[in-house]
Subunit: 289 residues, 2 copies
């Protein structure tokens, strides 16, 4: 996703310096005029605004606060924007470290996946100071379509977690519905015709069910990243004394998805865990009950 987003910034004429742990991912951008940096610190040294988008919370921590991290080359007035989905509390830690050096931080996780990154149609949920959000809004506009300031530091992360909690529910509803319809002997395409225009309508039904029926579990959005996000939401919920039984159940079932080797599959591989539970496999041809 990072490469596609950086590409949009290049297209808008911004001078870009980039670092990636996997240099091959940067080649296309370097050919288009981006400059290579050997470390996050070198990116900071060459830039006024720095965007980060990595995998897991520890990666975010390393990129900002590690030995060759961004924090080593902070100049007053710089703006740092983390677009990774990461703990709200980590956003606060980084924002404070940067503030001590008179620099600014925004947490700005995104929704919309690979396709959204390529089409610059991402939803960007931003936490931090309003005037800083406004200052970098032209850059957000280059990579996303729905840019919403959610509140102070960490609020972007919280909004993203709301997004993921909703998806956990729609995903289990849709997968269980397919499993039921299949075992009941329905033709699933015909069943979907009846339900997808009404109160059961959801993005998952329209966008992921065709892949499930084709047994195409390529990501989309990685199971292991969704696991991370659900884990963050459960951890924050525990801290806030909040009981989320639906999310907790779906999180457990995704452990089963991983146990069956689907950590790098798309999130719709939840189907696999449900099939294993019932020892049933949903095929294109309906089963008679």
């Amino acid at each position: 996703m990072g490469a596609a987003m950086a590409g949009h910034l290049l297209s808008k004429g911004y001078a870009l310096t980039i670092f990636s742990r996997t240099r091959s991912k940067a080649e296309g951008l370097l050919q288009r005029g981006a400059r290579w940096a050997d470390s996050p610190a070198q990116v900071a040294d060459a830039s006024d605004v720095v965007f980060t988008m990595v995998g897991f919370p520890r990666d975010v921590s390393d990129v900002y606060l590690g030995e060759a991290g961004l924090i080593q080359q902070v100049r007053p007035g710089m703006v740092f924007v983390d677009m990774t989905t990461a703990p709200p509390s980590l956003a606060v830690t980084i924002a404070e470290a940067l503030k001590a050096r008179d620099a600014h931080f925004l947490d700005a996780p995104v929704s919309g996946g690979d396709v959204g990154a390529r089409n610059a149609s991402l939803s960007i949920m931003v936490g931090g100071e309003a005037r800083i959000v406004e200052a970098v809004r032209p850059l957000f506009d280059a990579v996303g379509r729905t840019i919403v300031h959610q509140g102070g530091t960490g609020a972007g992360q919280h909004a993203k977690l709301c997004n993921q909690i909703t998806i956990a529910g729609t995903m289990i509803g849709v997968c269980e519905s397919l499993l039921y319809g299949y075992r009941a002997g329905l033709d699933l395409e015909t069943m979907l015709q009846s339900i997808k225009g009404g109160a059961a309508a959801c993005w998952t039904l329209d966008n992921l069910v065709p892949r499930i029926l084709d047994r195409d579990f390529a990501p989309g959005f990685f199971v292991e990243h969704f696991m991370k996000d659900m884990g963050l939401a459960l951890e924050e919920s525990r801290r806030m004394g909040l009981v989320l039984p639906g999310l907790a159940l779906v999180h457990q079932l995704y452990l089963a998805v991983q146990a069956h080797g689907h950590g790098r599959s798309g999130t719709h591989a939840l189907m696999v865990a449900l099939e294993e539970l019932s020892n049933v496999r949903v095929n294109a041809t309906p089963a008679k009950p």
Copy 2:
């Protein structure tokens, strides 16, 4: 819903004979020219095609097979259509009893609620013989918009249960997301702006969340009817050896919704059970964590 649907048939010029346990519900139709019957059997006696729409499976059984039931006045070639959401196995029982008298049965539960009934925009999921479905299609067209033949007897019921299973998932995802966002101190309207256009998008988010935020738990669709439908789906699943942990959890939580006096509230009152679990109440003003 039955009154609105019968009204559309009258508008299309069909002669209508009606029975309801609550005669007051029929008054409007009687004034518009419908004829009153004192029992289901009298309706059958006066009609070629009979529609039924009642509350619970026992009501369906009584209306068809009871002492003054439809079965008492069956003539060969008649068509009976049950639009109640009821057990697929009951559909089979009734279809067989009617077949023994050379009459036909369709199970044809609907989705779309009060509004769909008023606007004739219902989704009608039909089980039974294809030629019988075609024979009564003009009548379905008068009351619904999406009329899909799902397969043999009971297939309409199975498709409707797929619909309800999906809704169980979207409902818990949406309610938990609101609860999380509220406790995290987000402005919920602002949060919704970020998530409702993307992968979390669903009918529940668009149509029921505004009511939840207004704490307006008027139905829509009754909790006790949704409980019945989820119960049917779980019973069928058990029979088919199917594990649906998401549906089972949501069904349990709706028991809590009923325990808190919300059996005759709308399904979005699931929020109440989740609030009770965490001893939190979602108000319009955000809580700071």
